[in-house]
């Protein structure tokens, strides 16, 4: 009796140490990942004129300056246009692709499947060069349109993957039940399929929007004069030296991205109120 109890508590003690070690490990990992971000955010409130200078007190000046800077305003507008349009287009097409892949069997489906994942797997730089080459060969004037096309090209894959994950759980008899109750194909889609996969679609859209806002490499290669987006703007600002303004702008983008990703995760978990799958 006593012996067994002793062994039990021993294991428990060892377990506790292991848990602490693991926790420390986790903390270190997060520190490594997020310390630079924390530093960036803190310095965006530093009153010093030098981005990496000593702490000179708290200020919101850099943020205020952002909103009066016209070049940044234009870049923000471009970013939102690119993200908005490319999200819209890629969400519609990505959803259609996901439905086709999940519901229909056709010749060469496997090859098509592999092709669909390609933009997710291949390095941005390779894709950027490919797209640039394509636009040059097709003699398309580089500008907002080419950026949008490029963003659609990679976002479709992400949307399709997210929507497909949702569709995999979809009970096909629900569609049969709708058709049994006199709903034609379109009514079935609108009243049953769409509401049930909506969390996946919204999740995919938010992911696409986030990726579009954040993208640098592909945008850099496919942008033309007058189509500078925020990441490109920041890059050109940094080339002249890291200013507190850059810190502030980066912090804002960080905040927006984190918000969007969280929202996207929340929607994919199906927590979004009424639209949930039993």
């Amino acid at each position: 009796m006593t012996g067994s109890r002793g062994v039990g508590s021993g294991t428990r003690r060892r377990g506790r140490w292991l848990a602490r070690l693991l926790a420390l490990h986790g903390v270190l990992g997060y520190l490594f990942l997020y310390a630079p971000i924390v530093v960036l955010v803190i310095y965006s409130f530093n009153a010093s004129r030098y981005a990496s200078g000593a702490w000179r007190g708290f200020t919101l000046d850099w943020y205020a300056r952002l909103f009066t800077n016209e070049a940044i305003g234009a870049a923000l507008r471009n970013t939102l246009i690119v993200a908005g349009v490319s999200t819209l287009v890629s969400t519609v097409f990505g959803t259609m692709v996901a439905l086709a892949m999940e519901r229909y069997d056709f010749r060469g489906k496997l090859a098509f499947d592999a092709l669909l994942y390609l933009p997710i797997i291949i390095p941005d730089i390779a894709m950027a060069v490919m797209l640039l080459l394509f636009f040059v060969l097709a003699r398309v004037q580089l500008g907002l349109t080419t950026i949008i096309i490029s963003h659609v090209a990679f976002n479709i894959s992400f949307v399709a993957v997210v929507v497909r994950a949702r569709l995999a759980y979809f009970d096909i008899t629900l569609e049969e039940a709708a058709q049994d109750l006199y709903a034609n194909e379109w009514q079935t889609f609108r009243r049953v399929t769409l509401p049930l996969i909506m969390p996946g679609i919204l999740g995919g859209a938010l992911l696409a929007f986030t990726l579009s806002i954040d993208d640098f490499v592909i945008t850099f290669f496919t942008a033309g004069p007058g189509s500078t987006t925020l990441p490109l703007r920041i890059y050109s600002m940094v080339k002249l030296g890291v200013t507190p303004e850059v810190n502030a702008l980066s912090s804002m983008m960080l905040l927006a991205s984190i918000g969007l990703v969280l929202l996207s995760l929340l929607l994919q978990k199906g927590g979004g109120g009424g639209i949930e799958i039993a």
Binding site: D171, T173, L174, E176, A177, Q179, L181, Y182, A183, R191
Partner: protein
């Protein structure tokens, strides 16, 4: 004229090399409670899906209310389905689920309201309109699925093992309720089940299926009392089989030599010739055991085992080298019972019509 609610003429369905439904011909009458009964994989669900229009036949014709269906999509067929897993729309309330079919057919709002309320009352589920399917028990979901189909007043209701997911007690209760409901609304039910007892208690007629084919169609009594083939006799209830060869034909009877040693007399209700290989089927509860031969036809045997089953006493009696018969005697109370023990010689007796002559 639509004499039948549903007619299948030579309907087949192939899935690649698999023949799920094989030249099935069925005529289901208006207002009938018709069951498709058979073991797993025999093609019951596929037959139902062919009628509903979820699958198109590889061959043959399907008529609903006298109308040839051809490639008519499910949403244009005057039938509704109760799915095995209920398939309730999880993003809609009970009310919205039940109202769905009426909305699709553009029924006016106030009529929808009235009919949904009526349907929910009919399945004894009032006051649940605003719940979601995942807030209901299995039995309640089953009722919603039923209401969702019945509210449309279809000519025919197709039910695929609708009670399969319920526990035994609830299932028994729902069997009676469903049967009563069907008689009240007068809608033709096509009911799929693999539970022979369920089919026997609920149906007006049963089609017994195996390997995609319909083997026999008849009332529960016909199916139980007069099975036409060995599979049906075996699948429905318990049956003893005696195999032998026809020795002699008389005007009304046939003498069969069982296992080359015992002569058994059966009614000649089908054409057989002398020398034909035949099987005799006899239900365990139709055989009586006696200490002395009650009749010259009685056959001697030896008790091998006695099993107490509660309502019955079951004996295993050896008739020949190859054949052991199962015999059930009702248990009238321990003291009143004439009991036999293993090793006893007994005489087996049954009324002539109880033994059925089967050809394989």
């Amino acid at each position: 004229m639509a004499e039948y609610a549903i007619e299948l003429r030579n309907v087949s369905k192939h899935f690649g090399p698999v023949v799920a439904v094989d030249h099935v011909t069925l005529s289901i009458r208006d207002g009938e409670f018709f069951s498709l009964l058979g073991p797993s994989g025999c093609g019951k669900t596929t037959t139902l899906r062919l009628i509903a229009g979820f699958e198109l036949p590889t061959g043959g014709e399907i008529y609903i209310g006298g109308q040839l269906q051809g490639e008519t999509p499910p949403y244009r067929r005057p039938v509704n389905t109760v799915f095995q897993n209920y398939a309730l729309f999880p993003h809609m309330t009970v009310y919205e689920n039940v109202a769905f079919g009426l909305e699709m057919r553009r029924v006016p709002k106030d009529e929808i309201q009235r009919r949904v309320r009526e349907a929910l009352e009919m399945v004894r589920l009032p006051g649940m309109e605003n719940r979601r399917p995942n807030q209901l028990s299995g039995g309640q979901q089953q009722r919603v699925a039923l209401a969702r189909a019945l509210v449309n007043r279809p000519k025919v209701l197709l039910l695929d093992e609708p009670l399969g997911a319920l526990d035994l007690k609830l299932r028994k209760a729902m069997q009676l309720e469903l049967k009563a409901l069907q008689e009240r609304v007068g809608i033709t039910f096509v009911y799929v089940t693999h539970d022979q007892e369920e089919a026997l208690t609920m149906s007006d007629r049963i089609a017994v299926m195996n390997e995609g084919r319909v083997l026999q169609v008849g009332t529960p009594e016909e199916i139980y009392e007069r099975p036409t083939c060995r599979f049906v006799a075996d699948f429905i209830g318990e049956t003893n089989f005696l195999s032998g060869r026809v020795k002699e034909r008389r005007p009304k009877e046939v003498v069969v030599l069982v296992d080359g040693s015992v002569e058994v007399l059966v009614a000649a209700d089908r054409e057989v010739g002398v020398g034909d290989e035949v099987t005799i089927a006899i239900r365990p509860e139709r055989i009586s055991l006696h200490a002395k031969p009650p009749d010259p036809r009685a056959l001697p045997g030896r008790v091998e085992e006695r099993i107490y089953v509660g309502t019955d006493i079951r004996y295993l009696v050896r008739l020949t080298e190859q054949t052991v018969l199962s015999v059930r005697q009702q248990n009238p109370g321990t003291d009143a019972m004439i009991r036999f023990s293993p090793g006893d010689t007994v005489y087996l007796h049954w009324r002539l019509p109880s033994a059925r002559l089967l050809t394989e």
